[in-house]
Amino acid sequence: MVGLSGGEKHYIQGGIAQDLRTDGRTRLAYRQISVQTGVIPQANGSARVKLGGTDVIASVKAELGKPNYLYPDKGKVAIYVDCSPTAAPMFEGRGGEEFSAELSLALQRCFLGGKSGAGAGINLSSLIVMEGKMCWDLYIDGLVISSDGNLLDALGAAIKAALSNTGIPKVNVAVGASADEEPEVDISDEEFLQFDTSGVPVIVTLTKVGRHYIADATSEEESQMSSALSISVNRHGHICGLTKRGGAGLDPSVILDMISVAKHVSEQLIAKLDSEISAAEVEAE
């Protein structure tokens, strides 16, 4: 945790109340965001996102698997986050495991939608190779390299960038295979299919410090928070997931207010992220 003196705490809280934070930002402004894609050659897609001092990597790996018998027409996606103890000493041991699990859960909630797959950022039907027999399993792994607050937003942005960088090999299913046999497949190593990532949401975390809430909190600001709401919003302004952190309770009307502010902030974040991702793709080529 961050150790702060009484004066520093007062300075942070006072700045937030005056709409001028310690690094000169206003309450709803994000830090400088930079995106780099294709950083991991072994993965099907990857991206590194730096958000101020926070630095994360996301990788997407695709493997052929069998669909769940309840949803034979859908592929599977799993999201895991690893917090390396090199980023902060508190990530070591059980504390780190719990924190990683919390982040993974929040990301799963924001990206995977309901049990039936509705509202998912990734169209699960596009992962199917052969209905009921074979599908792509996507493994999305996040890694925290350096932590300076607002990890969830950075991981969300990294996953969005990694997914738009992902190419799934084209699979040709051998025709004539009977229904009972395992289908024979031919995985192309030249032709790749791109995802439609327009529906992938971004995550906006609003951290409540005192009576105000701020976007993109640094770790110093996070140490002063009473509660935080992470809201994932897609391009259409629909809410795709929401999680609350922090012990203090919130008034229901404040929550609705935060949701509408998050929607407004997300429009700017999506536009900024889109231009960064396309710039990174051009650079990679």
Binding site: Y69, G114, T243, K244, G247, G249, L250
Partner: protein, 283 residues
């Protein structure tokens, strides 16, 4: 389907039928409840003798038992803390779900229970000590976590742990165009989105909120209305559509229940006229 073989397939047994209720407006819930109606509930404190406090709660077929131990000395390895620790653990019995041992899928429930309760418990009232909250789901019938949270807050109160308010929790599932309150397992497995809210009703504060699936703004507002108009602590009469009593004791519906002499029980305003000193009530 007349299959060739007649071997018993376990997998088929558990395959749920695709429900008809996708986009229809007037389908009936599997247990014939209204969309905005909770399952019948049974709550009891003092279920376990050995614990400092315990509670047993049934919501329909979801059955949960929670024991609270402590406050007791924190383990030696723990660092000094001037506020108390809350240690939460949620486990499932192996027979809680239709497929044996499926309850182990819910590893995140322990941390979610902790997050829901930490805002309500006055941790500063027991420094250097730990309170253990152990929840066991005996039967999983849907909306397990909200039932666990409500039950745990009852058990904490039973143990005499200081709290700002009792914590109540409920989940809402979105199925097609409809919002259904307190979903059962079958409804949960086909939901398009879900929302769980944990609140302290008399402080009007939300301690925990999670949401999945895609929600438009009107849906969010409808959800907020459904949740805030659902009476959790106050008895609610759906005949005169007001709170204060239940339908079964509504005088409008059952005039024979109205007290015979006088104008019924004194109203709350009348009580304040009673002088503080005398117990006889304005004699």
């Amino acid at each position: 389907m007349a299959g060739k073989s007649s071997t018993y397939s376990l997998k088929k047994q558990h395959r749920l039928k695709k429900p008809l209720f996708k986009d229809l407006v007037d389908w009936v819930r599997p247990d014939t409840r209204g969309f905005h109606q909770c399952r019948p509930a049974f709550l009891r404190t003092g279920a376990v003798n050995a614990a400092s406090g315990s509670a047993y709660v049934e919501f329909g077929s979801t059955k949960v038992i929670v024991s609270v131990f402590g406050p007791r000395e924190s383990k030696k390895a723990m660092l000094y803390s001037d506020i108390g620790r809350l240690n939460c653990n949620v486990s499932y019995t192996t027979f809680a779900t239709s497929i044996r041992g499926q309850g182990s899928d819910h590893k995140e429930y322990s941390s979610m229970l902790h997050k829901a309760l930490e805002g309500a418990v006055m941790l500063e009232s027991f420094p250097k000590t730990t309170v253990d909250v152990f929840a066991l789901v005996l039967e999983s019938g849907g909306s397990d976590l909200p039932v666990v949270i409500s039950c745990a807050s009852l058990a904490l109160a039973d143990a005499g742990i200081m709290m700002y308010d009792l914590v109540t929790s409920v989940s809402v599932s979105c199925l097609g165009k409809n919002l259904v309150l307190d979903p059962i397992t079958e409804e949960e497995s086909y939901q398009d989105g879900s929302l769980m809210i944990t609140s302290m009703p008399s402080r009007n504060e939300v301690t925990q909120l999670t949401l999945t699936g895609e929600w438009s703004t009107p849906k969010i507002h409808e959800m907020a209305r459904v949740i805030t108009t659902t009476r959790w602590l106050r008895p609610y009469c759906d005949y005169i559509e007001d709170e204060g009593h239940l339908r079964s004791t509504c005088f409008k519906l059952h005039p024979e229940l109205r007290p015979k002499n006088g104008r019924g029980k004194p109203r709350i305003a009348a009580i304040s006229e009673v002088p503080f000193s005398s117990g006889e009530g304005g004699a």
